[in-house]
Amino acid sequence: MSIRGNLFLISGIVIVASIVIMSILADYIAPFSYDEVAGPPISPPNGVNLMGTDNLGYDVWSRIVYGSRSVLFVVFTSIILSAAIGIPLGLISGYIGGKLDKALSFIMDSIYAFPSLVLAIALAVVLGPSPVNAAIAIAIVYVPTYFRMVRGQVLSVKNEPFIEVNRALGLPLARMLFKHILPHVAPTIMVVFSLSSTDAVLTEAALSFLGLSVQPPTPDWGYELYKGKGFLLSGAWWMVFFPGLMITLLAMGFALMSEGLSKGEREAI
Protein backbone atom coordinates (compact mmCIF):
# COMPACT_ATOMS: atom_id res chain seq x y z
CA MET A 1 0.00 0.00 0.00
CA SER A 2 1.48 3.35 -0.94
CA ILE A 3 0.82 6.56 0.90
CA ARG A 4 1.49 8.69 -2.15
CA GLY A 5 -1.67 9.82 -3.85
CA ASN A 6 -3.82 8.64 -0.96
CA LEU A 7 -5.20 12.08 -0.02
CA PHE A 8 -7.44 10.75 2.74
CA LEU A 9 -4.56 9.05 4.48
CA ILE A 10 -2.19 12.00 4.07
CA SER A 11 -4.62 14.62 5.37
CA GLY A 12 -5.65 12.34 8.26
CA ILE A 13 -2.05 11.81 9.27
CA VAL A 14 -1.29 15.54 8.98
CA ILE A 15 -4.22 16.48 11.24
CA VAL A 16 -3.50 13.86 13.89
CA ALA A 17 0.23 14.50 13.79
CA SER A 18 -0.21 18.27 14.24
CA ILE A 19 -2.36 17.71 17.30
CA VAL A 20 0.17 15.25 18.70
CA ILE A 21 2.98 17.76 18.12
CA MET A 22 0.84 20.43 19.72
CA SER A 23 0.47 18.36 22.86
CA ILE A 24 4.18 17.58 23.04
CA LEU A 25 5.25 21.20 22.51
CA ALA A 26 2.41 22.67 24.59
CA ASP A 27 4.84 24.60 26.80
CA TYR A 28 6.18 26.45 23.78
CA ILE A 29 2.97 26.88 21.84
CA ALA A 30 0.61 28.03 24.57
CA PRO A 31 1.06 31.73 25.36
CA PHE A 32 -0.23 31.27 28.92
CA SER A 33 -0.42 28.51 31.48
CA TYR A 34 -3.74 26.70 31.60
CA ASP A 35 -4.58 28.00 35.09
CA GLU A 36 -3.28 31.52 34.77
CA VAL A 37 -5.53 34.55 34.57
CA ALA A 38 -4.70 35.92 31.15
CA GLY A 39 -7.23 38.68 30.76
CA PRO A 40 -10.65 39.85 31.83
CA PRO A 41 -13.17 36.97 32.15
CA ILE A 42 -15.29 36.17 29.11
CA SER A 43 -13.50 38.43 26.70
CA PRO A 44 -14.03 37.62 23.02
CA PRO A 45 -11.09 36.71 20.76
CA ASN A 46 -8.59 39.55 20.58
CA GLY A 47 -4.92 40.24 19.99
CA VAL A 48 -3.78 38.88 23.35
CA ASN A 49 -6.23 36.02 23.76
CA LEU A 50 -6.57 34.57 20.27
CA MET A 51 -9.63 32.51 21.21
CA GLY A 52 -10.84 34.74 24.00
CA THR A 53 -10.95 33.96 27.70
CA ASP A 54 -13.30 31.84 29.79
CA ASN A 55 -15.36 32.75 32.83
CA LEU A 56 -12.29 32.68 35.08
CA GLY A 57 -10.17 34.74 32.74
CA TYR A 58 -8.09 31.75 31.53
CA ASP A 59 -6.89 31.83 27.93
CA VAL A 60 -9.05 29.48 25.84
CA TRP A 61 -6.33 28.81 23.26
CA SER A 62 -3.82 27.87 25.97
CA ARG A 63 -6.32 25.55 27.62
CA ILE A 64 -7.01 23.91 24.26
CA VAL A 65 -3.29 23.38 23.68
CA TYR A 66 -2.76 21.84 27.12
CA GLY A 67 -6.09 20.03 26.90
CA SER A 68 -4.83 18.05 23.91
CA ARG A 69 -2.56 16.19 26.35
CA SER A 70 -5.33 14.62 28.39
CA VAL A 71 -7.44 14.02 25.28
CA LEU A 72 -4.66 12.17 23.49
CA PHE A 73 -3.65 10.32 26.65
CA VAL A 74 -7.13 8.92 27.12
CA VAL A 75 -7.69 8.20 23.43
CA PHE A 76 -4.39 6.41 22.82
CA THR A 77 -4.39 4.53 26.12
CA SER A 78 -7.88 3.27 25.47
CA ILE A 79 -7.33 2.09 21.89
CA ILE A 80 -4.01 0.46 22.75
CA LEU A 81 -5.61 -1.24 25.72
CA SER A 82 -8.61 -2.49 23.79
CA ALA A 83 -6.37 -3.68 20.94
CA ALA A 84 -4.08 -5.44 23.42
CA ILE A 85 -7.05 -7.33 24.84
CA GLY A 86 -9.25 -7.69 21.79
CA ILE A 87 -6.63 -8.88 19.27
CA PRO A 88 -5.18 -11.84 21.23
CA LEU A 89 -8.65 -12.92 22.35
CA GLY A 90 -9.91 -12.75 18.77
CA LEU A 91 -6.93 -14.75 17.52
CA ILE A 92 -7.29 -17.48 20.13
CA SER A 93 -11.06 -17.63 19.94
CA GLY A 94 -11.11 -17.84 16.16
CA TYR A 95 -8.27 -20.31 15.89
CA ILE A 96 -9.21 -22.72 18.65
CA GLY A 97 -12.96 -22.50 18.13
CA GLY A 98 -15.33 -24.81 19.97
CA LYS A 99 -16.69 -24.02 23.40
CA LEU A 100 -14.10 -21.36 24.18
CA ASP A 101 -15.05 -19.50 21.02
CA LYS A 102 -18.75 -19.74 21.83
CA ALA A 103 -18.22 -18.42 25.36
CA LEU A 104 -15.96 -15.54 24.31
CA SER A 105 -18.21 -14.58 21.42
CA PHE A 106 -21.18 -14.54 23.77
CA ILE A 107 -19.43 -12.22 26.22
CA MET A 108 -18.23 -9.92 23.45
CA ASP A 109 -21.65 -9.78 21.82
CA SER A 110 -23.19 -8.92 25.18
CA ILE A 111 -20.82 -5.97 25.55
CA TYR A 112 -21.39 -4.99 21.94
CA ALA A 113 -25.14 -4.99 22.43
CA PHE A 114 -24.96 -1.97 24.75
CA PRO A 115 -24.92 1.49 23.19
CA SER A 116 -21.21 2.28 23.49
CA LEU A 117 -21.60 5.70 25.05
CA VAL A 118 -24.06 4.54 27.70
CA LEU A 119 -21.79 1.65 28.64
CA ALA A 120 -18.70 3.87 28.78
CA ILE A 121 -20.49 6.34 31.05
CA ALA A 122 -21.73 3.58 33.31
CA LEU A 123 -18.27 2.04 33.57
CA ALA A 124 -16.63 5.41 34.20
CA VAL A 125 -19.10 6.14 36.96
CA VAL A 126 -18.43 2.77 38.60
CA LEU A 127 -14.67 3.15 38.27
CA GLY A 128 -14.65 6.74 39.48
CA PRO A 129 -13.67 9.91 37.62
CA SER A 130 -10.04 10.00 36.47
CA PRO A 131 -8.28 9.94 33.08
CA VAL A 132 -7.00 6.39 33.61
CA ASN A 133 -10.45 5.11 34.51
CA ALA A 134 -11.95 6.92 31.54
CA ALA A 135 -9.40 5.18 29.33
CA ILE A 136 -10.25 1.80 30.86
CA ALA A 137 -13.97 2.42 30.40
CA ILE A 138 -13.50 3.32 26.73
CA ALA A 139 -11.14 0.39 26.23
CA ILE A 140 -13.70 -2.10 27.53
CA VAL A 141 -16.32 -0.69 25.21
CA TYR A 142 -14.11 -1.17 22.13
CA VAL A 143 -12.64 -4.60 22.92
CA PRO A 144 -15.51 -6.36 21.08
CA THR A 145 -14.83 -4.36 17.91
CA TYR A 146 -11.28 -5.73 17.73
CA PHE A 147 -12.36 -9.15 18.85
CA ARG A 148 -15.04 -9.51 16.19
CA MET A 149 -12.91 -8.17 13.36
CA VAL A 150 -9.88 -10.29 14.22
CA ARG A 151 -11.91 -13.41 14.88
CA GLY A 152 -13.68 -13.09 11.55
CA GLN A 153 -10.40 -12.75 9.69
CA VAL A 154 -8.85 -15.65 11.58
CA LEU A 155 -11.76 -17.87 10.58
CA SER A 156 -10.96 -17.28 6.94
CA VAL A 157 -7.16 -17.46 7.27
CA LYS A 158 -7.12 -20.59 9.39
CA ASN A 159 -8.60 -22.65 6.59
CA GLU A 160 -5.75 -21.74 4.27
CA PRO A 161 -3.75 -24.87 3.48
CA PHE A 162 -0.50 -23.34 4.72
CA ILE A 163 -1.86 -23.35 8.25
CA GLU A 164 -2.39 -27.09 8.02
CA VAL A 165 1.13 -27.48 6.63
CA ASN A 166 2.53 -25.52 9.56
CA ARG A 167 0.69 -27.83 11.89
CA ALA A 168 2.18 -30.80 10.08
CA LEU A 169 5.61 -29.24 10.61
CA GLY A 170 4.98 -29.07 14.33
CA LEU A 171 4.83 -25.31 14.81
CA PRO A 172 3.47 -24.37 18.24
CA LEU A 173 0.29 -22.40 18.77
CA ALA A 174 1.91 -19.09 19.69
CA ARG A 175 4.06 -18.97 16.57
CA MET A 176 1.15 -19.98 14.44
CA LEU A 177 -1.05 -17.22 15.84
CA PHE A 178 1.41 -14.36 15.92
CA LYS A 179 3.70 -15.14 12.99
CA HIS A 180 1.35 -16.73 10.49
CA ILE A 181 -2.15 -15.55 11.24
CA LEU A 182 -1.63 -12.08 12.70
CA PRO A 183 0.28 -10.74 9.65
CA HIS A 184 -2.66 -11.69 7.46
CA VAL A 185 -5.04 -9.92 9.81
CA ALA A 186 -2.84 -6.82 10.27
CA PRO A 187 -4.30 -4.67 7.46
CA THR A 188 -7.77 -5.05 8.95
CA ILE A 189 -6.47 -4.23 12.40
CA MET A 190 -5.02 -0.97 11.08
CA VAL A 191 -8.41 0.06 9.78
CA VAL A 192 -10.19 -0.90 13.00
CA PHE A 193 -7.49 0.91 14.94
CA SER A 194 -8.07 4.26 13.28
CA LEU A 195 -11.83 3.74 13.08
CA SER A 196 -12.16 3.04 16.78
CA SER A 197 -9.93 6.03 17.56
CA THR A 198 -12.55 8.22 15.93
CA ASP A 199 -15.17 6.81 18.26
CA ALA A 200 -12.79 6.99 21.20
CA VAL A 201 -12.26 10.74 20.63
CA LEU A 202 -15.99 11.36 20.76
CA THR A 203 -16.55 9.08 23.73
CA GLU A 204 -13.68 10.71 25.59
CA ALA A 205 -15.18 14.13 24.90
CA ALA A 206 -18.51 12.93 26.26
CA LEU A 207 -16.97 11.48 29.42
CA SER A 208 -15.00 14.61 30.09
CA PHE A 209 -18.06 16.75 29.31
CA LEU A 210 -19.77 14.85 32.13
CA GLY A 211 -16.80 15.37 34.42
CA LEU A 212 -15.80 11.69 34.36
CA SER A 213 -12.28 12.18 33.05
CA VAL A 214 -9.72 14.79 34.19
CA GLN A 215 -10.59 17.01 37.13
CA PRO A 216 -10.38 20.81 37.08
CA PRO A 217 -8.29 22.81 36.75
CA THR A 218 -6.59 20.40 34.32
CA PRO A 219 -7.99 21.27 30.89
CA ASP A 220 -9.72 18.86 28.56
CA TRP A 221 -11.74 19.73 25.45
CA GLY A 222 -14.91 18.00 26.56
CA TYR A 223 -14.79 19.74 29.90
CA GLU A 224 -14.19 23.15 28.25
CA LEU A 225 -17.28 22.51 26.21
CA TYR A 226 -19.28 21.85 29.37
CA LYS A 227 -17.93 24.98 31.02
CA GLY A 228 -18.73 27.15 28.01
CA LYS A 229 -22.24 25.79 27.66
CA GLY A 230 -23.47 27.95 30.56
CA PHE A 231 -22.35 31.12 28.87
CA LEU A 232 -23.48 30.35 25.38
CA LEU A 233 -26.80 32.14 25.74
CA SER A 234 -25.05 35.29 26.86
CA GLY A 235 -23.23 35.27 23.52
CA ALA A 236 -19.83 33.82 24.56
CA TRP A 237 -19.66 31.50 21.55
CA TRP A 238 -15.87 31.16 21.63
CA MET A 239 -15.84 29.10 24.82
CA VAL A 240 -17.85 26.39 23.08
CA PHE A 241 -16.86 26.86 19.47
CA PHE A 242 -13.09 26.34 19.72
CA PRO A 243 -13.05 23.23 21.94
CA GLY A 244 -15.83 21.77 19.80
CA LEU A 245 -13.85 22.55 16.67
CA MET A 246 -10.80 20.72 18.08
CA ILE A 247 -12.82 17.63 18.98
CA THR A 248 -14.30 17.58 15.49
CA LEU A 249 -10.90 18.10 13.92
CA LEU A 250 -9.24 15.23 15.81
CA ALA A 251 -12.14 12.88 15.15
CA MET A 252 -12.04 13.85 11.50
CA GLY A 253 -8.30 13.25 11.38
CA PHE A 254 -8.74 9.69 12.59
CA ALA A 255 -11.72 9.14 10.30
CA LEU A 256 -9.73 10.29 7.28
CA MET A 257 -6.91 7.97 8.29
CA SER A 258 -9.22 4.98 8.52
CA GLU A 259 -10.86 5.85 5.23
CA GLY A 260 -7.45 6.19 3.62
CA LEU A 261 -6.24 2.91 5.09
CA SER A 262 -9.25 0.92 3.99
CA LYS A 263 -9.07 2.49 0.56
CA GLY A 264 -5.42 1.54 0.37
CA GLU A 265 -6.25 -1.98 1.46
CA ARG A 266 -8.96 -2.34 -1.17
CA GLU A 267 -6.59 -1.15 -3.85
CA ALA A 268 -3.86 -3.49 -2.68
CA ILE A 269 -6.24 -6.38 -3.28
Binding site: P161, E164, R167, L169, G170, L171
Partner: protein
Protein backbone atom coordinates in the same frame (compact mmCIF):
# COMPACT_ATOMS: atom_id res chain seq x y z
CA UNK B 1 9.98 -48.62 11.70
CA UNK B 2 6.35 -47.56 11.37
CA UNK B 3 3.77 -50.08 12.36
CA UNK B 4 0.07 -49.36 12.17
CA UNK B 5 -2.14 -51.85 13.90
CA UNK B 6 -5.86 -52.21 13.62
CA UNK B 7 -6.40 -48.51 12.99
CA UNK B 8 -9.92 -47.19 12.48
CA UNK B 9 -10.86 -43.61 11.71
CA UNK B 10 -14.43 -42.42 11.60
CA UNK B 11 -16.00 -39.11 10.65
CA UNK B 12 -18.90 -38.32 12.93
CA UNK B 13 -20.88 -36.15 10.55
CA UNK B 14 -24.40 -34.87 11.07
CA UNK B 15 -25.64 -37.25 8.40
CA UNK B 16 -24.08 -40.32 9.93
CA UNK B 17 -20.83 -42.00 10.86
CA UNK B 18 -18.43 -42.44 7.96
CA UNK B 19 -16.15 -45.44 8.34
CA UNK B 20 -13.27 -43.85 6.45
CA UNK B 21 -10.48 -46.16 7.60
CA UNK B 22 -11.42 -49.54 8.97
CA UNK B 23 -9.12 -51.92 10.86
CA UNK B 24 -6.07 -51.09 8.79
CA UNK B 25 -2.76 -52.70 9.66
CA UNK B 26 0.31 -51.64 7.75
CA UNK B 27 4.05 -51.50 8.05
CA UNK B 28 6.65 -49.16 6.57
CA UNK B 29 10.22 -50.33 6.75
CA UNK B 30 13.25 -48.15 7.18
CA UNK B 31 14.17 -46.32 3.96
CA UNK B 32 11.29 -47.87 2.10
CA UNK B 33 8.85 -46.08 -0.18
CA UNK B 34 5.37 -47.42 0.34
CA UNK B 35 2.65 -46.23 -1.99
CA UNK B 36 -0.91 -45.96 -0.74
CA UNK B 37 -3.05 -46.29 -3.83
CA UNK B 38 -6.77 -45.90 -4.09
CA UNK B 39 -9.51 -43.84 -5.62
CA UNK B 40 -11.06 -40.75 -4.02
CA UNK B 41 -12.72 -41.66 -0.76
CA UNK B 42 -10.73 -44.84 -0.28
CA UNK B 43 -9.34 -43.48 2.98
CA UNK B 44 -5.75 -43.14 1.83
CA UNK B 45 -5.43 -39.46 2.71
CA UNK B 46 -7.30 -39.95 5.97
CA UNK B 47 -4.80 -42.67 6.83
CA UNK B 48 -1.95 -40.23 6.11
CA UNK B 49 -3.47 -37.59 8.37
CA UNK B 50 -4.15 -40.21 11.02
CA UNK B 51 -0.45 -41.06 11.20
CA UNK B 52 0.21 -37.36 11.90
CA UNK B 53 -2.70 -37.44 14.37
CA UNK B 54 -4.19 -34.62 12.34
CA UNK B 55 -7.50 -36.05 11.22
CA UNK B 56 -9.69 -32.97 10.72
CA UNK B 57 -12.87 -32.82 12.83
CA UNK B 58 -15.45 -34.29 12.90
CA UNK B 59 -13.06 -37.17 12.22
CA UNK B 60 -11.52 -39.16 15.03
CA UNK B 61 -9.20 -42.12 15.39
CA UNK B 62 -11.44 -44.56 17.21
CA UNK B 63 -8.99 -47.36 17.78
CA UNK B 64 -5.65 -48.84 16.89
CA UNK B 65 -2.03 -48.01 17.45
CA UNK B 66 0.57 -46.16 15.40
CA UNK B 67 4.01 -47.27 16.47
CA UNK B 68 6.90 -45.17 15.23
CA UNK B 69 10.28 -46.45 16.34
CA UNK B 70 9.46 -47.68 19.82
CA UNK B 71 6.71 -45.20 20.67
CA UNK B 72 2.98 -45.48 20.21
CA UNK B 73 1.90 -42.13 18.80
CA UNK B 74 -1.61 -42.74 20.05
CA UNK B 75 -0.41 -42.53 23.63
CA UNK B 76 1.38 -39.19 23.31
CA UNK B 77 -0.05 -35.92 24.55
CA UNK B 78 -0.89 -33.25 21.98
CA UNK B 79 2.27 -31.33 22.93
CA UNK B 80 4.50 -34.41 22.57
CA UNK B 81 2.83 -35.09 19.23
CA UNK B 82 3.55 -31.54 18.12
CA UNK B 83 7.24 -32.14 18.74
CA UNK B 84 7.11 -35.32 16.67
CA UNK B 85 5.47 -33.52 13.75
CA UNK B 86 8.07 -31.94 11.54
CA UNK B 87 10.94 -33.63 13.37
CA UNK B 88 10.15 -37.34 13.10
CA UNK B 89 7.16 -37.45 10.79
CA UNK B 90 6.66 -34.80 8.12
CA UNK B 91 4.15 -34.27 5.42
CA UNK B 92 4.14 -32.80 1.93
CA UNK B 93 0.84 -31.71 0.48
CA UNK B 94 -0.80 -31.64 -2.88
CA UNK B 95 -1.08 -28.01 -3.89
CA UNK B 96 2.15 -26.03 -3.49
CA UNK B 97 0.36 -22.87 -4.60
CA UNK B 98 -1.48 -22.59 -1.31
CA UNK B 99 0.70 -24.47 1.13
CA UNK B 100 3.34 -21.79 1.64
CA UNK B 101 2.58 -18.73 3.75
CA UNK B 102 2.52 -15.92 1.15
CA UNK B 103 3.85 -13.36 3.63
CA UNK B 104 7.08 -15.15 4.53
CA UNK B 105 10.35 -15.48 2.68
CA UNK B 106 11.20 -19.02 1.64
CA UNK B 107 14.36 -19.11 3.70
CA UNK B 108 12.34 -18.20 6.80
CA UNK B 109 9.75 -20.86 6.00
CA UNK B 110 12.42 -23.55 6.05
CA UNK B 111 14.37 -22.07 8.96
CA UNK B 112 11.28 -21.72 11.10
CA UNK B 113 10.75 -25.47 11.36
CA UNK B 114 14.27 -25.92 12.71
CA UNK B 115 13.99 -22.99 15.12
CA UNK B 116 10.82 -24.43 16.59
CA UNK B 117 12.47 -27.78 17.04
CA UNK B 118 15.28 -26.33 19.06
CA UNK B 119 17.99 -25.27 16.61
CA UNK B 120 19.26 -21.74 17.20
CA UNK B 121 18.28 -19.07 14.76
CA UNK B 122 21.61 -18.37 13.05
CA UNK B 123 22.34 -22.03 12.44
CA UNK B 124 18.79 -22.67 11.27
CA UNK B 125 18.99 -19.92 8.66
CA UNK B 126 22.32 -21.17 7.37
CA UNK B 127 21.06 -24.71 7.17
CA UNK B 128 17.88 -23.51 5.44
CA UNK B 129 19.94 -21.85 2.73
CA UNK B 130 21.93 -25.06 2.31
CA UNK B 131 18.77 -27.16 2.12
CA UNK B 132 17.18 -24.85 -0.42
CA UNK B 133 20.26 -25.19 -2.60
CA UNK B 134 20.08 -28.96 -2.25
CA UNK B 135 16.47 -29.10 -3.40
CA UNK B 136 17.42 -26.98 -6.39
CA UNK B 137 16.34 -23.46 -5.49
CA UNK B 138 18.74 -20.98 -7.14
CA UNK B 139 20.75 -18.80 -4.76
CA UNK B 140 18.99 -15.60 -5.86
CA UNK B 141 15.57 -16.95 -4.83
CA UNK B 142 16.53 -17.82 -1.26
CA UNK B 143 15.06 -14.57 0.04
CA UNK B 144 12.14 -14.53 -2.38
CA UNK B 145 8.49 -14.66 -1.42
CA UNK B 146 6.48 -17.70 -2.52
CA UNK B 147 4.61 -15.81 -5.25
CA UNK B 148 7.91 -15.23 -7.02
CA UNK B 149 8.44 -18.96 -7.46
CA UNK B 150 7.04 -21.42 -9.98
CA UNK B 151 4.83 -24.30 -8.87
CA UNK B 152 7.69 -26.79 -8.98
CA UNK B 153 9.95 -24.46 -7.02
CA UNK B 154 7.26 -24.01 -4.40
CA UNK B 155 6.98 -27.76 -3.99
CA UNK B 156 10.77 -27.91 -3.64
CA UNK B 157 10.57 -25.38 -0.80
CA UNK B 158 7.84 -27.44 0.86
CA UNK B 159 10.06 -30.52 0.57
CA UNK B 160 13.02 -28.64 2.07
CA UNK B 161 10.86 -27.60 5.04
CA UNK B 162 9.52 -31.12 5.49
CA UNK B 163 12.92 -32.80 5.53
CA UNK B 164 14.73 -30.05 7.43
CA UNK B 165 14.76 -31.98 10.70
CA UNK B 166 15.64 -35.23 8.96
CA UNK B 167 12.46 -37.09 9.96
CA UNK B 168 12.37 -40.86 9.82
CA UNK B 169 9.07 -40.84 7.95
CA UNK B 170 7.87 -38.57 5.18
CA UNK B 171 4.24 -38.65 4.13
CA UNK B 172 3.72 -37.29 0.64
CA UNK B 173 0.04 -36.71 -0.07
CA UNK B 174 -0.34 -36.50 -3.85
CA UNK B 175 2.85 -34.41 -4.03
CA UNK B 176 2.80 -34.03 -7.80
CA UNK B 177 -0.89 -33.95 -8.66
CA UNK B 178 -1.02 -30.16 -9.04
CA UNK B 179 2.08 -30.03 -11.23
CA UNK B 180 2.62 -30.64 -14.91
CA UNK B 181 4.17 -33.94 -16.01
CA UNK B 182 7.73 -32.72 -16.57
CA UNK B 183 7.84 -31.08 -13.16
CA UNK B 184 6.19 -34.18 -11.67
CA UNK B 185 9.14 -36.26 -12.75
CA UNK B 186 11.64 -33.74 -11.39
CA UNK B 187 9.89 -33.61 -8.04
CA UNK B 188 9.69 -37.40 -7.76
CA UNK B 189 13.39 -37.65 -8.68
CA UNK B 190 14.19 -35.10 -6.01
CA UNK B 191 12.19 -37.00 -3.41
CA UNK B 192 13.99 -40.24 -4.28
CA UNK B 193 17.36 -38.59 -4.13
CA UNK B 194 16.91 -36.57 -0.99
CA UNK B 195 15.14 -38.90 1.36
CA UNK B 196 17.90 -41.52 1.54
CA UNK B 197 17.04 -43.67 4.56
CA UNK B 198 13.83 -41.84 5.35
CA UNK B 199 10.78 -44.02 5.00
CA UNK B 200 8.18 -42.53 2.68
CA UNK B 201 4.47 -43.04 2.31
CA UNK B 202 3.44 -41.89 -1.13
CA UNK B 203 -0.28 -41.29 -1.24
CA UNK B 204 -1.55 -41.29 -4.79
CA UNK B 205 -4.46 -42.25 -6.99
CA UNK B 206 -2.02 -42.88 -9.81
CA UNK B 207 -1.13 -46.57 -9.77
CA UNK B 208 1.30 -46.06 -12.66
CA UNK B 209 3.27 -43.57 -10.58
CA UNK B 210 3.19 -45.97 -7.65
CA UNK B 211 4.48 -48.85 -9.80
CA UNK B 212 7.31 -46.66 -11.00
CA UNK B 213 8.37 -45.05 -7.73
CA UNK B 214 7.43 -47.21 -4.77
CA UNK B 215 9.14 -50.26 -3.31
CA UNK B 216 5.89 -51.64 -2.04
CA UNK B 217 2.29 -50.85 -2.85
CA UNK B 218 -0.74 -50.95 -0.65
CA UNK B 219 -4.06 -50.80 -2.47
CA UNK B 220 -6.95 -49.40 -0.50
CA UNK B 221 -10.63 -49.52 -1.24
CA UNK B 222 -13.49 -48.09 0.81
CA UNK B 223 -11.34 -47.70 3.92
CA UNK B 224 -9.91 -51.20 3.79
CA UNK B 225 -6.57 -52.59 2.68
CA UNK B 226 -7.16 -54.82 -0.35
CA UNK B 227 -3.69 -55.93 -1.28
CA UNK B 228 -0.13 -55.23 -0.20
CA UNK B 229 2.75 -56.42 -2.36
CA UNK B 230 6.18 -55.53 -3.64
CA UNK B 231 6.25 -53.47 -6.78
CA UNK B 232 7.25 -56.40 -9.02
CA UNK B 233 4.53 -58.65 -7.64
CA UNK B 234 1.95 -55.90 -7.99
CA UNK B 235 2.38 -56.02 -11.75
CA UNK B 236 0.68 -59.42 -11.48
CA UNK B 237 -2.08 -58.57 -9.00
CA UNK B 238 -4.18 -61.16 -7.26
CA UNK B 239 -7.06 -59.15 -5.84
CA UNK B 240 -9.94 -58.56 -8.29
CA UNK B 241 -9.98 -54.85 -7.38
CA UNK B 242 -6.27 -54.40 -8.10
CA UNK B 243 -6.70 -56.31 -11.36
CA UNK B 244 -9.49 -53.90 -12.26
CA UNK B 245 -7.34 -50.90 -11.39
CA UNK B 246 -4.46 -52.09 -13.53
CA UNK B 247 -6.59 -52.93 -16.53
CA UNK B 248 -8.12 -49.46 -16.35
CA UNK B 249 -4.73 -47.96 -17.25
CA UNK B 250 -4.58 -46.85 -20.87
CA UNK B 251 -1.90 -48.71 -22.82
CA UNK B 252 0.19 -46.75 -25.24
CA UNK B 253 1.00 -49.53 -27.71
CA UNK B 254 -2.30 -51.31 -27.70
CA UNK B 255 -5.47 -50.71 -29.61
CA UNK B 256 -7.52 -52.06 -26.70
CA UNK B 257 -9.65 -49.67 -24.74
CA UNK B 258 -8.83 -49.61 -21.06
CA UNK B 259 -11.57 -51.37 -19.13
CA UNK B 260 -13.31 -49.92 -16.11
CA UNK B 261 -14.69 -51.40 -12.93
CA UNK B 262 -18.50 -51.32 -13.05
CA UNK B 263 -20.44 -49.54 -10.32
CA UNK B 264 -19.50 -46.85 -7.82
CA UNK B 265 -17.56 -46.93 -4.55
CA UNK B 266 -19.91 -47.58 -1.61
CA UNK B 267 -21.35 -45.01 0.76
CA UNK B 268 -19.09 -45.39 3.79
CA UNK B 269 -21.84 -44.42 6.19
CA UNK B 270 -23.28 -47.84 5.49
CA UNK B 271 -20.52 -49.95 4.03
CA UNK B 272 -21.65 -53.19 2.38
CA UNK B 273 -21.75 -56.24 4.58
CA UNK B 274 -18.95 -58.73 4.07
CA UNK B 275 -16.21 -57.72 1.66
CA UNK B 276 -16.64 -54.04 0.81
CA UNK B 277 -15.81 -54.67 -2.82
CA UNK B 278 -18.27 -57.50 -3.39
CA UNK B 279 -21.05 -55.43 -5.05
CA UNK B 280 -18.62 -54.53 -7.86
CA UNK B 281 -16.64 -57.74 -7.94
CA UNK B 282 -17.01 -60.07 -10.91
CA UNK B 283 -15.84 -63.03 -8.86
CA UNK B 284 -18.01 -62.50 -5.79
CA UNK B 285 -19.08 -65.65 -3.98
CA UNK B 286 -21.65 -66.28 -1.26
CA UNK B 287 -19.16 -65.88 1.55
CA UNK B 288 -18.11 -62.44 0.20
CA UNK B 289 -21.60 -61.12 0.92
CA UNK B 290 -21.60 -62.43 4.45
CA UNK B 291 -18.18 -62.14 5.98
CA UNK B 292 -15.31 -59.70 5.50
CA UNK B 293 -12.09 -61.44 4.52
CA UNK B 294 -8.98 -60.91 6.65
CA UNK B 295 -5.58 -60.16 5.15
CA UNK B 296 -4.31 -63.51 3.89
CA UNK B 297 -0.63 -63.97 3.37
CA UNK B 298 -0.14 -65.59 -0.03
CA UNK B 299 3.25 -66.06 -1.73
CA UNK B 300 4.88 -63.18 0.11
CA UNK B 301 2.03 -60.73 -0.32
CA UNK B 302 -1.09 -59.82 1.60
CA UNK B 303 -4.48 -60.12 -0.05
CA UNK B 304 -7.87 -59.46 1.44
CA UNK B 305 -9.97 -61.76 -0.70
CA UNK B 306 -11.83 -65.01 -0.12
CA UNK B 307 -10.40 -66.42 -3.37
CA UNK B 308 -7.12 -66.90 -1.57
CA UNK B 309 -8.11 -67.86 1.94
CA UNK B 310 -10.63 -69.83 3.81
Amino acid sequence: MLKIEDLSVRYFTKKGVVHAVDNVSLEVRRGEALALVGESGSGKSTLGFAIMRMVPPPGRIVKGSIILGDRDLMELSEEEMREIRGSQVSMIFQDPFTTLDPLRRVNDIVAEVMIEHGIDEGEAKERATYLLRRVGIPERLVDAYPHQLSGGQKQRVAIAAAIAMNPSLLIADEPTTALDVIVQRQIMDLLDEIRKDMGMILITHDIALALERADRICVMYAGKVMEVADKEMMKEPMHPYTKGLLSSLPKLLSSEWPSSIPGMPPDLREPPKGCRFHPRCSEAMDICREEAPGLFSVDGRLVSCWLYGR
